[in-house]
């Protein structure tokens, strides 16, 4: 068995008195490709926000790579090897696609305090940035202002920026949201391919059940901040509770949740 790269222990978070993450515990094994599913408002994004330090948990521990990172500021969690792509695209819209990735490479290599060399002359960093752009298929758009890209490509750039940080754990929040069915499957194939080649641990949030069951090794079902079920795709599809809550009709889901 691989060691756990992430252990979430009795994590809780409430917003103005409403419990959004409720005493949540789970483990992610190193090298795993796993999915988190759950209805809207289940607390999936909040969970990512807690892990990456955007929100401070009310209680509980987040052990990343043996260290409790609960409440650590985002830039510190990034330095420890966490990176994420966002549900709502979150890029630097008035910079070129290349500059988006170069910025992340510069931070990864801790070159931010270089006051002298023009960043455009950092050949090695640019080469690295092009490798990353190529791995998500955005090389041809390197010089475009990233804000002018189509939605799908902005999502890919968001992932590329995260990849540039060379994370040990990559959190993808609905990477295919807002994409056409074709784009979705392309993106999913890309995510799987990246996972295989980079040997990075990945956790992704996804609504499309075909995708979730198609590529994940493990699925966790989140509902009202609770872990409803956890297991392999097979185990999950056999789990009646989940079938009721999530795979069933929408009205049923609302009743159960």
């Amino acid at each position: 068995m691989a060691a756990d790269i992430l252990r979430v222990e009795k994590l809780s978070k409430s917003f103005s008195g409403r419990l959004v993450i409720d005493n949540l515990s789970f483990r992610v094994a190193e090298g795993e490709l796993s999915a988190i599913i759950g209805p809207n408002g289940a607390g999936k994004t909040t969970l990512f926000n807690l892990i990456t330090g955007y929100h401070v948990p009310d209680s509980g521990k987040i052990i990343f790579n043996g260290q409790n990172i609960a409440g650590l500021q985002p830039f510190k969690t990034v330095r420890l090897g966490l990176a994420r792509a966002f549900q709502r695209t979150n890029i630097f819209p008035k910079m070129t696609v290349l500059e988006n990735v170069v910025s992340a490479c510069i931070t990864r290599q801790e070159r931010n305090l270089n006051f002298r060399t023009p960043y455009k002359k950092l050949t090695q960093i640019h080469q690295r940035a092009y490798e990353i752009l190529d791995s998500v298929g955005l090389t041809a758009m390197a010089q475009r202002l990233s804000g002018t890209l189509a939605h799908g490509n902005q999502k890919l750039l968001d992932i590329a920026v995260a990849l540039a940080l060379e994370p040990r754990l990559l959190l993808l929040d609905e990477p295919t949201a807002g994409m056409s069915p074709d784009e979705r499957w392309q993106t999913v194939a890309l995510v799987k391919d990246l996972w295989e080649r980079l040997k990075v641990t990945m956790v992704f949030i996804e609504h499309d059940m075909d995708i979730v069951f198609g590529i994940s090794q493990k699925i966790r079902v989140l509902c009202y901040g609770n872990l409803l079920a956890e297991g392999t795709p097979k185990e999950i599809s056999n789990n009646l509770k989940v079938i009721e809550v999530y795979l069933g009709e929408k009205p049923m889901m609302d009743e159960a949740c």
Partner: protein, 332 residues
């Protein structure tokens, strides 16, 4: 991972425009070096105009220093005069009370301003948006009050008059002295803006949250940028005290802080030289109006307001942005 050769086309500068740019810049610099000698031939009005251009150079430096945080950093400071004033008082106090040589006093000005920026910035970068702006304003007004009240040290509202001027600094020489310092500062700021540090600052301006998630310690870099901007402002203030041969509380006043903001807005916040163009434009316009008709200056606030209105509505990139747009259109 995949191996890709760096595409030569992607090197941003095209050699041709780069050369043209360089030639134009060199010519402009030569013109500014010759200017005082031409003006000196005009007798008394000439000396006045040398004084005015020196003031424009200094205020341009002040405006550029603000723009490091305003345009490049996205931090709207309403209290940048604090550092201008600290620099001015440093030069005035050192030269007048301690008989320090000019160069020493001018070296101390940015240093003292940086020290002030270290302290003030430490608090201010903890806030964002309007709260940041208001806190910078509060700190600068605090310094203003200190200078106003501490009569024995700062001369209170009389200020410090009669700052000594070394003999060799004729108006022409002082102009040249300021020009050289200005050019060195422009060179330094250009380096800064184009560096990895500059790019990091831009990521913060563009999307502060995302900057955190690529691992940028946002507060630290904002603080650093704030200190650097403060140091350049201090140098401008020091030169200004030497130009006027006095330092007074008005140098610290919030209305002083407004000048570089207006200059950056009018000239263009998103280019290095925008604030310089804006400063020169506004100061020249004011003088021209004054010469045309004494009464016109009374309407200065209205005229300024109209200019700003037009700029904000029709040329958000300022004068430089406007020129760039026109050139782009011409080239197809």
């Amino acid at each position: 991972m995949l191996n890709i050769k760096l595409n030569p086309e992607t090197n941003i500068y095209e050699p041709e425009t780069k050369t043209r740019h360089r030639v134009a810049t060199a010519l402009l610099i030569v013109v500014f070096f010759i200017l005082p000698f031409v003006l000196a031939h005009l007798g008394r009005t000439g000396v006045y105009w040398i004084w005015v251009t020196t003031e424009i150079i200094i205020m341009s430096l002040f405006a550029m220093s603000l723009n490091l945080i305003l345009g490049f950093g996205g931090m709207v400071s309403f209290g940048h005069a604090a550092f201008f004033g600290v620099g001015a008082y440093t030069v005035a106090l050192l030269m007048k009370k301690a008989a320090a040589p000019l160069l020493l006093a001018l070296a101390a000005a940015p240093l003292m301003a940086a020290v002030a920026a270290v302290i003030i910035g430490w608090f201010c970068v903890r806030l964002t948006g309007l709260y940041f702006s208001i806190l910078t304003l509060a700190f600068s007004q605090l310094l203003y009050m200190v200078a106003f009240q501490w009569y024995t040290f700062t001369g209170g509202d009389d200020g410090l008059h009669g700052v000594p001027r070394p003999d060799f600094l004729s108006p022409t020489n002082f102009y040249l002295f300021c020009l050289v310092i200005f050019l060195i500062c422009v060179w330094l700021m250009r380096m800064l803006v184009n560096s990895s540090f500059g790019l990091t600052i831009r990521t913060i301006r563009e999307n502060m949250d995302r900057a955190k998630f690529i691992g940028v310690n946002v507060r630290f870099y904002q603080w650093l940028n704030f200190i650097i901007a403060g140091a350049f402002a201090g140098l401008a203030g020091g030169l200004f005290a030497q130009l006027n041969r006095f330092a007074q509380t008005e140098f610290l006043h919030w209305s002083r802080s407004a000048e570089p903001i207006l200059a950056s807005l009018v000239g263009g916040m998103y280019s290095l030289m925008g604030p310089t163009v804006g400063s020169a434009f506004l100061m020249c316009l004011r003088i021209v109006l004054q010469q045309a008709h004494k009464g016109l200056v009374e309407y200065w606030a209205i005229i300024l307001g109209l200019i700003l209105l037009v700029m904000v509505l029709f040329a958000p990139g300022g004068l430089i942005g406007l020129v760039q747009k026109i050139i782009k259109k011409k080239n197809g």
